[in-house]
């Protein structure tokens, strides 16, 4: 049984089509990366999964149930824009959120303590939320999300705004959940997180699905003719070569999608005439380049989007 099954779901807000005919599944026990440019409909989709909105058409099954009330204690949700009651003490806040998931008494206290220890905030329980730094508040929020040890974690951009140390900490916590057999769906703009953490990936754009599948397979499928080279010299000369279909130049690292008929070694032979090559490899495409390529193609194919009608809900 899949953790989430989304079938032909559409949702519009006062004339703006946020999600169109979207279908995908989230497999149990795996980490799913949910990608898409800003305004693609990720948050709207997540909110529908959480039953904050209902889809206009289509159906959503979460943990086998269509009625959200049955499963709300089995889901942990970290919203994109994190906030908390600023005047509340950290422990009281966590106890409140835990209570919403029907945790009570000693069990609740135990889990709150455990959770604070997990994110190394055990000494901050008595402080008011507003006394914490933004990163700390974010960690408290994460604790609130996993307090009731949910089977399914839905995280809306969990890593945004965290310093590298805390990103590392949070990633370990998420992966620990995966090892414990939990299912994780998280949206992000950080492609390297997807490459490092995710088993599967889902990419949407303007409310439509562009890509869905195993991260490894996706990268291999898009990476047949991808080469990266590290170089010294003028990368623009490489990008101008006839063998190159599309390229991304980072100044000392060059990643290119070659034309289907080109053999990578032939390209290398040509490249050395233009720059000093320090390293060359044929590689799987990075999620970054797949994202830019797919979204870029879509953007080119579609007309300029109309502005969102006023009074709409942010998706």
């Amino acid at each position: 049984m899949n953790a989430i099954e989304v079938e032909n779901v559409s949702k519009a807000f006062s004339g703006h089509q946020a999600v169109r005919d979207l279908s995908f599944e989230v497999r149990p026990g795996l980490v799913h990366g949910f990608l898409g440019p800003n305004g693609a409909g990720k948050t709207t989709t997540i909110r529908m999964i959480l039953r904050i909105f209902h889809p206009d058409t289509g159906s959503i099954r979460v943990l086998g149930e269509t009625d959200g009330r049955q499963v709300r204690n089995r889901i942990g949700y970290l919203p994109e824009e994190r906030g908390a009651y600023r005047k509340m003490r950290v422990r009281d806040l966590l106890r409140f959120f835990g209570g919403l998931k029907d945790l009570r008494g000693g069990e609740l206290n135990r889990r709150v303590d455990q959770g604070l220890e997990l994110v190394r905030l055990q000494d901050w329980g008595k402080k008011k939320v507003e006394e914490l730094s933004k990163g700390m508040q974010q960690k408290v929020q994460f604790v609130a999300t996993i307090l009731h040890d949910p089977e399914l974690l839905v995280l809306d951009e969990p890593f945004s705004g965290l310093d590298p140390v805390n990103v590392e900490l949070l990633r370990d916590l998420v992966l620990e959940k995966k090892r414990a057999g939990r299912t994780i769906l998280f949206s992000t703009h950080q492609m390297e997180q997807v490459e490092r953490m995710c088993d599967r990936v889902l990419l949407i754009h303007r409310g439509r699905k562009l890509l869905d599948g195993d991260v490894g397979e996706v990268r291999r499928a898009h990476g047949r003719n991808t080469v990266t080279l590290e170089y010294e010299g003028d990368g623009r000369r490489l990008a101008a070569l006839a063998q190159v279909e599309s390229a991304r130049d980072e100044g000392s690292r060059f990643e290119a999608q070659l034309r289907p008929e080109v053999d990578p070694p032939d390209f290398l032979a040509e490249a050395v005439n233009h720059v000093r090559v320090k390293r060359f490899e044929t590689a799987e495409a990075s999620m970054q380049s797949i994202f830019l390529k797919l979204v870029g193609e879509e953007r080119a194919a579609e007309p300029v989007p109309q502005p969102v009608v006023e009074g709409g809900v942010r998706g």
Binding site: N73, Y77, P79, Y85, K87, F96, L100, A144, G311
Partner: protein
Amino acid sequence: MGSAMHVARREYVEGVRSKAFIIGIILAPVIIGVSVSVQFVLAAKAPKPRVLAMVEESQFFYPVVAQKLEKEKDNYLADGTRKLTLRFEPAGILEETKRRLKEELDRGTLDFFVLVPKDLVKREEPRIEVFTRNAANVTVLTDFRPALIEAMREERGRLASLSPEQVKHVTARIDFDNTEVKRGGREERGKKFEQAYFSAFGLVMLLFMTIIGTGQLIMSGVVEEKGNRVIEILLSSLTPRELMFGKIIGIGGVGLTMLAIWSAIGLLGLRISKLSQLVAPASIVYLLVFFLLGFLFFASLMAALGSLCNTEKEAQQLVQPVTLTMALPMMALFYVSQNPDAILTKVLSLIPPFTPFLMMTRMALLPPEPWEIAAGIGLLAVSIVFALRAAARIFRLGILMYGKRPSLYEAWKWARTP
């Protein structure tokens, strides 16, 4: 319902712990206490002794009035000094005398001078002129005036060959003692209208402040949850309806607690100052009942309006007309207390948003008929049911709506969509 109670518990605990609550608890009695004691202090504190010059051709009225004032207890302060001291001033050349006395007014060595005409006793419409720098000072003349009137009456009596006793007999004033007859024929003696009015006014002010205060609390709470997006976490765990009812129950509890504490302090204070007759214990029960009803009505409005707003500022603008409407009965308060039995009073106090305040006022003055109370509460209860239902519908949609604030017309449409 479990989730609603969970929300209610948080709202209650956080509400009662908040600085605003503690400040409110302490501040209100302090403000009331201070304003009462200021009155006492002002009343006890000696107004500065005043000097009045009686301008007459010869000492005709002056000695009589001065003697009467000397005997008048009210003209003495606690320390035995006189509030008003009289001085005789021969009229002489009147314009010259006036000019001189005006200079004295300017220097502050004199507070009043009065011109007593020679023929005052004979005039059909006796009239004297009072000169002072500040017309508000004339309250000091409360004892001077009757003394002069009495002196004139005695003089007229003498002219008509009546003895002072006969004059006194003829001109005796009638004292009016008020007795309020309560339902069932119980008599309550000696309660002055002012006392009744002020105790009613005090209770209604308390009711008004608590309802407005807690309503605002609901609204700012909703705006806060919307602003910091806690709302999403909440809505992934409970329904908007549960959230709204939870908030209303919790903050209603905060209001009740505040009123209960104030009432206890107030009753104790009245007992200590031996003014217990001012507020009947039953009034406190009605206070709590009318708070609950008024709060439920107002709170549902505030929850709905709060859900439409993105910022506290937006919310304040939106709430202003509502607060003003709530203040209407406060403006009608004086009329109602003067005419507790008028048709207009009865009609006004049956209008649901006005009922708590006006019924409360009437309860303290002239209790309405039981059927009126029942009808008022009944109508209010029905409107509360409608208000809560409409509010829940608006809340459900408004709470997730960011960007431009939906118009009230849109909200009205939502309220009618089940």
